[in-house]
């Protein structure tokens, strides 16, 4: 059943509405578990669109296999998604920097608060992101050290390649996931692919994980596929490589491939002078789980993340 979560009248004859599709068991006993799948906080992240489509399609065709409640929010920043903008248009705000919002605050904060209210109390929430247009990511789940004891068992069921347990000091406090975890609604952040793109293979991989997770929670009674065991790592095992020059990045490596210390990662080129501004070499051995997708770089642009540490 499609429901409105929050709705705002725009100035010229239009309504901005965040919608969800709720699936419930045919017969309810009142004690059903509830899972929320949220995506589109950033309007340029589309990987979750295919996941939502497949989830809705499968659940619609198999209502009899449902033993819990599934709420699917395909686009919580609908104006951003429609206008190919990462931020919330009008306010120019990164929606993932305004949670938990405020019911009496400005429009963006009001929308954020309404979303939190709707999700709160769920047994689990998955906030599904792609990377931005600059980077490509393998399917992964990110959780903070603080929430790891509670969330790691769920993360392992998600059929992702990698679970990144990052330090509490790097947690962005105004995100949807942090705000929900803080009020006791366990929330995982899943990330995969690149901005403005849909990678079907990643979507299929994650869908297997979501159904596996729902089955383990007792929400889904249908068949599930065998899921892989992710690599679990902390910040200490992740090396982040930034560009130290401005120019055009030409990669010399492949995404999600092994790399040895000293291997050539790529070059930063100057197309006007025909010179190589920087040659980048790997500081450690490991696997490249993040790789730059957008070629133009400045000093400080993220080029790669390597799982393996130094």
């Amino acid at each position: 059943m499609i429901e409105d979560v929050v709705s705002v009248k725009l100035p010229v004859m239009e309504q901005m509405t965040i919608k969800k599709n709720r699936f419930e068991p045919i017969t309810k006993n009142g004690n059903e578990k509830r899972i929320c799948i949220v995506t589109g906080v950033h309007g340029d992240e589309l990987e979750g669109q295919y996941v939502c489509y497949e989830l809705v399609r499968t659940l619609s065709e198999n209502c009899h296999l449902l033993n819990g409640i599934v709420d699917i929010y395909p686009s919580v920043n609908p104006l951003g998604m429609d206008s190919i903008k990462r931020e919330m248009p009008i306010f120019e705000l990164d929606m993932n920097m305004i949670f938990p919002g405020s019911e009496t605050g400005a429009v963006a904060e009001h929308i954020a608060a309404a979303l939190i209210k709707d999700i709160s109390g769920a047994d689990l929430c998955i906030d599904l992101h792609a990377s931005n247009i600059f980077l490509r990511e393998i399917p992964q789940v990110r959780i903070s050290e603080e929430t790891a004891p509670r969330l790691l068992p769920y993360a392992k069921m998600m059929n992702v390649d990698f679970v990144w347990v990052h330090s509490s000091s790097t947690v962005m406090e105004a995100t949807l996931s942090h705000s929900l975890n803080k009020i006791g609604t366990p929330t995982l952040v899943a990330e995969m692919g690149a901005g403005m793109r849909i990678t079907k293979s990643y979507g299929d991989q994650l869908l297997d994980g979501i159904f596996n997770l729902m089955a383990k929670m007792g929400i889904w009674l249908g068949e599930t596929k065998k899921v892989s065991h992710p690599i679990i790592s902390t910040d200490g095992n992740v090396s982040i490589i930034y560009s130290e020059a401005s120019g055009i990045y030409m990669p010399a490596i492949k995404h999600w491939a092994g790399i040895s210390e000293g291997d050539h990662i790529g070059d930063i080129l100057n197309p006007l002078t025909g010179t190589v501004e920087q040659q980048i070499f790997s500081p450690c051995s490991g696997i490249v789980f993040t790789l730059r997708e957008y070629p133009v770089v400045y000093q400080g642009s993220l080029v790669a993340r390597i799982l393996g540490g130094c």
Partner: protein, 311 residues
């Protein structure tokens, strides 16, 4: 006056990104004044240019006092300003959400770190900034309510109001918040405009900064006394929300007194011009903030009112 380059970043397709500062006087790092962090903060840039002009004249006359140094940085984001974007020209991130920065991190974290490492040594920090909602304020000094806040110093600007804001999660990466944490007495000064120049409120802001510097003994300057400021807590301001979306016709301006049920604004149907809503004052008070954009969304905060408790 000395002009010095505080931070540079090489660019492939444009001139190199450069942040310049104007140094007045010599000696202890007394006061740093920061202007536009966002590319659309033209009023903030203008105010700084007028402060630089005034300090240049004072310095020529020997009116910067001994052992005091003042630094003015008019624009911290000229790249975005030159292409008329509010946030960082490449990835649209907000430098004012990157403090204290990271010198080996992402580009905007490096810019924030480059600025912050330079300005954190100053005893007083003054930032001209803008609000994320389109609108006008009564000129005021705003401070984060941390254990480092110094309200009595904020009074020396002589502006009518001091506003204390309880930091929300997204405030913890702003310049004002981190300046306070680094033991700089930090003040944000809000004037009327952002993208256009409002001469009157700009001169009010320039006067307030010169008054502050004069009262702190940093400059010799004759100014009128200004206001005895009223200190407000942001959460005590009364928000007035629009119940409709449409064309916004503002009736009451910042600084106006309003009486309960007095019309403050109208929202018109965008096509037939009929009045969809008359926004009325919910209480007696003074308009502190007023929405500016000619269009308005449902549930927008269109006014913030200082409620008069004694009436």
């Amino acid at each position: 006056m000395n002009i010095e380059t505080i931070f540079t970043l090489k660019s492939t397709y444009r001139d190199d990104f450069r942040i310049d500062g104007y140094r007045f006087g010599k000696g202890e790092k007394t006061c740093c004044i920061v202007g536009a962090l966002r590319g659309n903060e033209v009023q903030q840039l203008y105010v700084c240019s007028q402060i630089i002009k005034a300090l240049s004249n004072l310095e020529k006359k020997g009116n910067i006092t001994y052992n005091h140094e003042i630094m003015v940085i008019p624009s911290l984001n000229p790249f975005s300003m030159n292409i008329q974007r509010r946030f960082w020209s490449v990835d649209n991130t907000d430098i004012n959400r990157m403090f204290p920065g990271d010198s080996s991190g992402k580009t905007t974290q490096r810019i924030a770190a480059g600025i912050f490492d330079f300005i954190k040594e100053y005893q007083y920090g003054i930032q001209f900034t803008s609000f994320y909602i389109s609108g006008d304020f009564i000129p005021h000094v705003r401070m984060m309510e941390t254990e480092h806040k110094n309200v009595s110093l904020a009074n020396l600007f002589g502006l009518p109001y001091i506003l204390l804001r309880k930091p929300k999660p997204f405030d913890t990466a702003t310049l004002n918040y981190n300046w306070q944490l680094a033991n700089t007495s930090a003040f944000s000064v809000y004037t009327n405009e952002t993208e256009t120049i409002d001469e009157s409120s700009a001169q009010t802001a320039v006067g307030a900064v010169l008054r502050f510097l004069s009262r702190m003994g940093v400059i010799k300057y004759q100014s009128h006394g200004g206001y005895m400021a009223t200190t407000l807590e942001e959460e005590h301001l009364m928000s007035v929300h629009a119940k409709q979306g449409g064309i916004y016709r503002r009736i009451k301006q910042p600084g106006d007194e309003v009486e309960q049920d007095e019309p403050m604004a109208e929202i018109l149907h965008p096509f037939d011009g009929s009045v969809l809503e008359v926004i009325k004052a919910p209480a007696n008070g003074i308009v502190f903030f007023a929405h500016k954009s000619p269009l308005v969304l449902e549930n927008s905060v269109v006014y913030k009112i200082i409620k008069r408790l004694h009436i």
